[in-house]
Symmetry: C2
Subunit: 124 residues, 2 copies
């Protein structure tokens, strides 16, 4: 996996797993890949994986069963809340960033529209 060297790997692993949960690749109750397998898949050390999982366990996003594995929480509400939270965080960030660049609300919205519209050309 490709990581941004400006932010801690364990933090990016958390985000990766969040997204797997948000998109349904990992559903409530699902068993995650074994920590050693995740380490191989992501080409990182087991301890780094463990650090990410440890935080998610503390948060209650995943549940650990020693000897069995790590499992996505059965609390679907939590997943929904998490998704909403991730979305708002992103919106908040762009808004603040673009607003700090002296753009008006209207300019922010229209620039996003333009960006998305102009996207079809060279991507996907």
């Amino acid at each position: 996996m490709k990581f941004d060297d400006k932010v801690p790997i364990y933090y990016q692993i958390k985000n990766y797993l969040y997204h797997e949960m948000m998109t349904g690749a990992l559903e409530p109750g699902d068993k995650l890949p074994a920590v050693r397998q995740l380490a191989v898949d992501l080409t990182v050390n087991v301890n780094t994986v463990q650090r990410a999982l440890g935080e998610m366990i503390t948060e209650g996003t995943i549940e650990s069963q020693r000897g069995k594995g790590n499992f996505v929480t059965m609390d679907k509400n939590r997943i929904t809340q998490l998704k909403e939270q991730l979305i708002v965080e992103q919106l908040e960030r762009v808004y603040n960033e673009l607003h700090a660049l002296n753009m008006t609300d209207e300019q922010i919205i229209s620039s996003l529209k333009t960006y998305i519209a102009g996207r079809g050309q060279q991507h996907d």
Copy 2:
């Protein structure tokens, strides 16, 4: 200044100065605060400031005059390009993030509208 401990300080300093330039707080030809002053203002070490400035000098965003100070480039075109670049980077990021959360283009745009509309309530 408050820093996000998930990303290097020198990198955040660069972004801070970029924004100062984008908003016009620092205009082309303007003299930046002395490195030691910046270090005090940002409550950071001189070397950390220097690392940020060093990269910006290499980029050509600012120009250094030994014994005199650091100055914003006179090349207004560069400032404009930089602003456009910063905007696109933000749009790209938000788009990719939200798209990865299974949102459609329309949902992304409308969620931003909703966010901005609902913003007036508790902020500014």
